[in-house]
Symmetry: C2
Subunit: 250 residues, 2 copies
């Protein structure tokens, strides 16, 4: 059990990574995960802007893809300026902090931010539980990446003392929600079998079809047991279909 | 009547000024006032980091001293990490935004931030109505200047739509609170007469004595009428004392 992780997906400027780490540490957050940072890692510009945050406890992990970065993450919020017509819970930084706080007993949450110019890719938004959006002026809505991180961290800061108390209580886990990597494997299993069944057609719509499926499934707040059950169902269907085809081929 | 001003007192880095302007504009704030910026103005580094905020409506005024920068300001919050044993209202960014919002009908508020390393000088804190402090980790409490501005702006952003509604209603002013520059002239008047009366002794304690006086007086939420009354009282005392001395000299 721990404070939320901050995930920066494909960040471009080391300065923003460093500034994000600094403000995370200001408000008691220490788990920073980078997915494919443009300029690699370590990054001297990040060190300069961090004001010593890395030495003061902010850990950095670098990942080649989002699923790996989500290992052990139980609840994921995606920072986005555009609400993309995907049916998800939506709220501001305070709502995201509340939701993460409520789940403290159930495992780690993460808040994910996209690249400076392009924001988050659709496939990252699709696997999120929550869309976090800020009440910005519609005529000037592009926040600096580190400022976007700052707004969430400041909200978390308000809950930090309470959160530290909850974390130190080390509550017994109830319900055993499925970690994000198990969900990913479930999705991939499902999609592999759907692909084999010819479900994804036409090919150019495949990414959209997958995103929509994942967006729907992710809302279910899966427990580990339910993931096992669903994967069992996929396997059974796939085998049955295989068998049926064999039968037909006969 | 308008949204709060942001005052940067003796900012050092143009980058921070530009980043502050950007996040102000993100959340609907446009009145930026600089007191003795180290590198003068305009500043190319500020332009780069502003992402066009100056073209999109953020106005910048530069002042040689704080009293000039406070022209027309009715309520002033000072961002500070240290609570200095001065008796003032204290709260976080949400409290400051609430207070500024409540006063929307009564004139403009301002939120003031100090220099990157040193923060606000004591004489600036002394003339503030409110100390704004953030729930930072005590082991890593120094926020980047633009991030400190961001935290307040994000809180203001939550109230922005309501604030714009209030501002556009252009409510009739009740009570006519005294603008900050009138208070400054009142303080100076008072202090000049006190100096003439030999009140400030020993000389090295003069700044502290003035700060304490101002800190006490400022809590009174003066109306313009009250300022006039008080200045009349000072004048009367000064004349009386002058007269008494003339009498004595006779």
């Amino acid at each position: 059990m721990s404070n939320p992780a901050i995930i920066l997906h494909s960040p471009q400027l080391g300065e923003n990574i460093g500034a994000a780490a600094r403000v995370m540490r200001n408000f008691g957050l220490t788990d920073l995960r980078l997915v494919t940072p443009r300029d690699g890692w370590p990054n001297p510009a990040a060190d300069t802007m961090s004001a010593g945050a890395f030495e003061a406890g902010v850990t950095v992990q670098v990942f080649e893809n989002l699923p790996d970065a989500l290992e052990g993450i139980m609840w994921l919020a995606a920072a986005t300026a555009r609400l993309r017509g995907i049916e998800k819970r939506v709220g501001d930084a305070a709502d995201a902090a509340d939701a993460a706080f409520e789940r403290l007993g159930a495992g780690q949450s993460a808040i994910m931010f996209g690249a400076e110019k392009s924001g988050l890719p659709n496939d990252a938004v699709a696997v999120s539980d929550f869309l976090m959006t800020y009440p910005v002026d519609p005529d000037f809505k592009s926040l600096n990446l580190a400022q976007a991180v700052c707004v969430f961290c400041a909200e978390w800061g308000k809950r930090r003392e309470d959160a530290d108390r909850v974390i130190s209580q080390d509550k017994a886990k109830l319900g055993e929600p499925a970690p994000r990597d198990e969900l990913y494997r479930m999705f991939e299993h499902f999609e592999d079998e759907l692909a084999r069944a010819g479900y994804f057609f036409p090919p150019e719509k495949t990414p959209l079809m997958k995103d929509n499926l994942r967006a729907a499934l992710i809302r279910a707040d899966w427990t580990r047991q339910e993931v096992q059950t669903f994967r069992g169902a996929i396997k059974a269907l796939a085998l049955g279909r295989g068998k049926a085809r064999v039968d037909r081929d006969d």
